[in-house]
Assembly symmetry: C2
Homo-oligomer: 158 residues x 2
DNA sequence: TTATTCTTGACAGTAAAAGTAGAGATTCAT
DNA sequence: ATGAATCTCTACTTTTACTGTCAAGAATAA
């Protein structure tokens, strides 16, 4: 019942981007260094987040990633969903999937009492994650006095 | 972020016991047959549940397991907790563990913004699971018209 | 045109989950 | 007492998913 590191790293990385956002796209190497995440692994995670429409990217020098929307329009739920693939406590929940995917995994079909518990639990958890935006996290970072790192690419102009 | 089968099987098995409860203890072979769970695996799960104080057991002929408390005093949370070991969405949550266990897994210590999200999510989920008792499940089973199997050990006397 | 950066897909090591197995202990019925 | 039924304990195996690493390619800015 643990979240994967993809989810946790994903949220941390997205927060990092929002918190340190500047004019230029953020680069993997900077985010991974600040958040102490393996850069190669973070690349993968960002691909997932990009596919989910949460990130934009730009290649080449001075390229990098930027948030596809403003920080107050991106919720933790979206990030977890993108990284985790789905937000379900069990695989045997039928009828909740949009994709008409595969035969149901549950042999009890409509007779399963516990199914409802797991799907309701998933929903409750999802609602909580949906209530938190990246902006909320940034505000909290400010409160906590979390340091903002200057963008080294601007150093020359100071 | 999936619950283990131990949790799911555990809840199903405990429900089954509550639903079919008679004068005699329930036996692994009957429960596993009705719930379609490998009997050897269920044995293991029942050991966990017993250690957690949710089950009593009796060996020998006519032996088996019975609920340690009445069905309205056993919550889904307790079962999941016993089967899962803990109810935490991440391992990096410090200060929530009662056992002074091991060094903290999180390198960000008190500076971690996301920690709060995960521990709060864990709490919310736990609260939901705590609100459901085995009796609630039995009532729902009745509503759904779920069949109760007669205890074969009584057949002879009818 | 070259260095930088993202893109894509494949690969591997590790750990945890899921299930199997066997020998032992307790209890009941005879 | 004896033997069958049932739980108990520990160890083992198989499978799966997580957590990364790697290499070659494509786009972009200077």
């Amino acid at each position: 019942m643990k979240l994967s590191t993809k989810s946790r790293y994903g949220v941390r990385a997205m927060f990092d981007m929002a918190y340190h956002a500047g004019n230029l796209p953020a680069q993997i190497k900077d985010i991974s260094r600040r958040q102490n995440i393996s850069p190669r692994y973070l690349e993968q995670i960002f691909q997932d987040l990009k596919k989910a429409g949460l990130l934009k990217s730009r290649r080449g020098p001075q390229g990098g990633y930027s948030l596809a929307r403003s920080a107050d329009k991106i919720t933790v739920k979206e990030i977890v969903l993108a990284a985790e693939g789905e937000l379900l406590l069990v695989n045997c929940i039928k009828g909740l999937r949009k994709d008409g995917e595969s035969p149901p995994v549950c042999e009890f079909d409509n007779q399963c009492l516990t199914q409802h518990i797991w799907s309701e639990g998933s929903r409750i958890l999802g609602d909580y994650f949906e209530s938190i935006t990246l902006k909320d996290l940034c505000d909290k970072g400010q409160e906590m006095g979390l340091e903002k790192e200057l963008d080294h690419r601007f150093m020359y102009f100071i």
